[in-house]
Every structure is written in structure tokens, then in C-alpha cells.
């Protein structure tokens, strides 16, 4: 009997498949409130335009508006559009929708649409008052505040069952104590509804406010005379060549030949980015004898690997740096070797999201320098994830973040140094 049932099921399967083929149905993913999070349209099914999708499927009202923030043609006819969500003209934090087209036809739409019943969008306090209330909440004296920015937003508050509130988002600069949180102050009542650490926040308007330590250019040094090709005696990958440039009499690990500047710095054990120095060589032949002391040669591995990773993503996938801008230069790729002088900092490598930079320890105590291709690609991957998705480093986001970076590490090691490294030897 069992066997008969099984064979009946097997017989039925091709019929099921056939039934699906003849009447294609879009695949839909919804959240607990029934709002569509993702929808896939098969090639032979009709698909709506973005505007139709918003009306038919998201059921937006006259209070809702989607504004195109980014559109990108990856190859002819294949485009990716991103829309930000606005409610009665106010931006809804973290909300928006993405539409992907193949040969002009929508095949995948996904995003986060916040359905708001009726929210009064006239604030009862002003941004100055919101700043004061946030400063009081953080116990920061007014005399220590060196500046602030604010934006009126609609934001879902996680601790209040994701209810949407009208809030002032406050970024406040203070010297003592240093403020490392963004405040969300209820624009009606003045209550501080939520705070978020600055390092895991990736809204574009916050990205503009970065600690002054970020080094996107090299103001202290004159512009390079000419880009050059350095010969690197790397620690882990043998003899390699990489772009450097000559400043005055010496060569440094700065590459300005690509779509994004790649710059490798030396922290010499400091935790302070202001203390970083250039790695320099007299003749652009970077030998182990000259650079292996203090593990400085790890900089050669990293500078070379960053160029290889950049090239793979740029030439094969037309992706420029972590942020992949629609136009213009990619976000500068800054790497800092010999970051820190404690065991945890030295035997470690990371993506420092607050300064959008890669940091690598010299190892030296427990491990060896953290500079192999897979480590560099893993951290580079965190940069991509930070810019493209904005995941933080704890909880589920942290777990997915690490998982993605491990995949980047394996792919890039495979592409750059060869070998199917995910297969057991």
C-alpha cells in the first residue's frame, strides 16, 4: 500500500510541475502583517511596472510616496532601481523598495514598506529642543557639545512593537564624553525613544558625518608625481607587483590608478588613526630584508590583495569599491596595518565601520600577521555589506555579516590565488 501511494505521488509530480508551467504564479513573501517583502515574476508571466506594483501590491495611499534614489544599468536592459519611502513628505527611516529588471521586464521586487495608519507629521518641539533632550539623556553638558545635525523622520521603534513615530534623528558631537550614539527623539513628546550606535548605522545622511580621523586623501603629502609599479616580497603570496606612487624621493603604498583610491597605512601599534604613517621604500623594490622587521611586510600582502580584489569586482562585475557609486570615484579603500597593541587587537582583523576602513593586527603574539588574501577579502566583504546592506556586528545581522564575509574570503582566494579552496584536499 505504501509503495502504491509513493508511486502515485511520483506520478503526480510531473503533473504538478506542468500545472505550474501553464499558469505561472508570482512567488510572494510577506511579513507578519501581510505586507509584501519580496515578489518574483517568472519570465513568461506578465509583470507590473514599479508604479503599478506599488498601487496593486503594496496598496499605497495618497499619503505614501516612493522617490527614486538610485537607478543603475548593469548591462543593456538590466537595471536595478531603488526607491526611498516618504510619508506625507517625510522620509521613512530604513524603508524603501527595490526593483530589478531583466531586458526591461520587472522580475524581482523586494523591500521594506512601512504601512502607516494615520500619523500627525507636525512636530511639537523643534530640533534644538530635541538636541537638548538627547544631550540630557546622554548626560552631556551643553558646554561639551561641539555641533549637531538633525533630521525629521518617520521611524519604526523596535522596542514599541515597530510602531512608527515622528522623530528627530539627532547626531550630536561631544568631546567629553565622546558621543557614539544617534538619538531618536519623539517630535511630539520629546521622549528619547531609541538610540543606535553610530558604527552600525548606514543611512546615507549619517555617512556624511564621520569622525575627523577618516583619511580619504593625503593632505600632508604632495600629489604623486607618477604612479609606479612596485615589486613586493609579500609575506604569504610570494613575489607580486602592485601600484604605488612616488612622493618626493620615496615610494608609498598608495594607488591612484583605479576607480577608487587604495591606500595602505601603518599604525605602528597605535589605536589612534592620527598616528598612522606611510609605508615607504626607496627604490620601489620592497624586499623582506627591508620590511619584514616589525611585520611591516604584511602591508605588501594587503596592498596587493586589495588591488586584486578591486580588479576582480570591477572588471568582471563592474563594481567600484564598497559603495559602487552610479558615477564618480568609489569610496576610498583605506587599510591600516599594525592596528593596536593589545592581544585582541594584534591577533585580529576587522572592518571599522565608523571610519569605513580596514584594520589588521600584526599578529606576532598568538597568530602571525593577519594579511592573507582570504582575510583581506573577508574584511573587504564587511565593507561591501556595510555599504550595501548596513548590517551590524551583533545578533542575527552579525552572524549573516560574518557568513557573507567568509564567502567573499573563499571566492576571492579562489579567484586570486587559485585552487578550489572549499573542497577538501
Amino acid at each position: 500500500m505504501k509503495n502504491q501511494l509513493l508511486s502515485a505521488m511520483i506520478l503526480a509530480l510531473p503533473m504538478l510541475a506542468k500545472a505550474q508551467q501553464s499558469k505561472p504564479v508570482p512567488t510572494v513573501l510577506t511579513d507578519k502583517d501581510g505586507i509584501i517583502q519580496a515578489m518574483e515574476f517568472s519570465d513568461n508571466a506578465p509583470s507590473p511596472t514599479d508604479q503599478e506594483f506599488m498601487r496593486q501590491y503594496l496598496k499605497i495611499t495618497a499619503d505614501d510616496r516612493f522617490e527614486k534614489a538610485n537607478d543603475k544599468e548593469r548591462s543593456p536592459g538590466n537595471t536595478d532601481d531603488h526607491f526611498d519611502q516618504f510619508y506625507k513628505g517625510i522620509k521613512v527611516d530604513g524603508a524603501g523598495y527595490n526593483f530589478h529588471y531583466k531586458k526591461g521586464k520587472l522580475f524581482y521586487a523586494h523591500g521594506h514598506f512601512v504601512k502607516i495608519g494615520n500619523l500627525d507629521i507636525v512636530p511639537s518641539i523643534n530640533s534644538e529642543r530635541a538636541k537638548e533632550l538627547f544631550a540630557a539623556y546622554k548626560q552631556i553638558p551643553a558646554s561639551e557639545i561641539s555641533g549637531f545635525t538633525s533630521e525629521l523622520l518617520v521611524k519604526e521603534i523596535a522596542s514599541a512593537d515597530s510602531t512608527a513615530y515622528l522623530v528627530f534623528e539627532i547626531y550630536l558631537r561631544s568631546n567629553a564624553p565622546v558621543n557614539d550614539e544617534i538619538g531618536y527623539v519623539n517630535a511630539k513628546t520629546g521622549e528619547v525613544l531609541a538610540t543606535e550606535p553610530i558604527f552600525s548605522h548606514s543611512s546615507p545622511h549619517v555617512k556624511g558625518i564621520q569622525p575627523k580621523t577618516i583619511q580619504t586623501t593625503t593632505p600632508d603629502l604632495k600629489r604623486a608625481l607618477t604612479p609606479a609599479n612596485g615589486n613586493f616580497a609579500t609575506r604569504y603570496s610570494g613575489a607580486r607587483t602592485g601600484s604605488t606612487d612616488k612622493d618626493g624621493l620615496k615610494y608609498r603604498l598608495l594607488d591612484e590608478t583605479r576607480g577608487a583610491v587604495i591606500h595602505t597605512w601603518n599604525m605602528q601599534g597605535s589605536f589612534d588613526f592620527d598616528a598612522s604613517v606611510e609605508l615607504l621604500d626607496n627604490d620601489n623594490i620592497w624586499t623582506a630584508a627591508e620590511h619584514a622587521a616589525n611585520e611591516n611586510d604584511m602591508g605588501l600582502d594587503i596592498h596587493w590583495a586589495l588591488q586584486k580584489i578591486y580588479d576582480r569586482l570591477n572588471t568582471v562585475h563592474a563594481v567600484n569599491s564598497f559603495n559602487d557609486p552610479v558615477a564618480g570615484a568609489g569610496f576610498p579603500i583605506n587599510a591600516y596595518i599594525r592596528y593596536g597593541n593589545t592581544d585582541i587587537a594584534r591577533n585580529n582583523a576587522g572592518w571599522a565601520a565608523a571610519v569605513k576602513s580596514l584594520v589588521f593586527g600584526d599578529g606576532a603574539t598568538v597568530y602571525r600577521p593577519m594579511a592573507s588574501v582570504d582575510v583581506v577579502a573577508h574584511e573587504y566583504g564587511h565593507g561591501i555589506t556595510d555599504f550595501q546592506i548596513g548590517w551590524g556586528n551583533s545578533g542575527d545581522q552579525g552572524a549573516f555579516n560574518e557568513g557573507l564575509s567568509d564567502i567573499w574570503g573563499a571566492i576571492m582566494q579562489h579567484r586570486i590565488t587559485g585552487g578550489n579552496i572549499w573542497q577538501r584536499p
Binding site: T213, I344, G398
Partner: protein, 117 residues
């Protein structure tokens, strides 16, 4: 009965107050790093490679045993422990200081130190 409740309440509150640690005070002194990892079991770092020393004037000295060297850093404490650009969440457990990296998405995130004389 009322007095009893009041008395119990006073005891309870007093008990709470005693538990509160002032991190600015608690962190002062010398700490030897014996653990780096992600919270899982790891054998203690052996031999230890150095110790860190928090002074009252916001100065942190990091000492390495071999080769013998010392570096000076600036530190301060609010809801995090900041060492230059690095910042950590912190936890004091008896004679142990546990730090969790918050400044970076990093390979290892947890370090532990034991107090030394």
C-alpha cells in the same frame, strides 16, 4: 508589619547600591590579557604576552614582555571603554575584566584580563 517591609526594603536598596561599580575606579591598575576569542572556551594565553595599565589621568600603558616594550595610549570611559579609535563594551566580574569589541566587525571580539599586582 509595615516596619518589617520598610526594613526589608532598606536592606534591599542598600544591597543594590553596594553592587554598583564605578568603572572609572574599577578599571584602574594592571590587567594581564589571558583570553582572546569569541566567547567559546580557549586555553589561557600561555605564556602571557603582556599587560595593560590604566592610570587615573586617562593614560593607558600597554606593556609587552617580549621584546620588552611599552606604548602610551589615551583612554576614557562612558557607556564604552574607548582606547583611541577603538571602543569596547566592558564587564567587571570579580577580578576579571571582559571587553567586547564594538568598533569593528572583527574576527575575534572578546578579550579577558585578570587583575595583577
Amino acid at each position: 508589619m509595615k516596619q518589617l517591609i520598610a526594613f526589608a526594603l532598606i536592606l534591599f536598596l542598600a544591597g543594590c547600591k553596594k553592587d554598583k561599580i564605578d568603572p572609572h575606579q574599577a578599571i584602574l591598575g594592571k590587567w594581564e590579557e589571558f583570553y582572546v576569542g569569541n566567547g567559546e572556551y580557549q586555553p589561557p594565553i600561555d605564556p602571557p604576552t603582556g599587560y595593560i595599565e590604566f592610570m587615573e589621568d586617562s593614560v593607558l600603558l600597554t606593556h609587552n614582555y617580549s621584546p620588552k616594550s611599552t606604548m602610551k595610549h589615551k583612554y576614557w570611559i562612558d557607556s564604552f571603554l574607548h582606547i583611541g579609535s577603538a571602543y569596547f563594551s566592558y564587564e567587571f566580574q570579580a577580578d576579571t575584566l571582559k571587553l567586547n569589541i564594538e568598533y569593528a566587525t572583527s574576527i575575534l571580539s572578546v578579550s579577558k584580563y585578570k587583575r595583577i599586582r
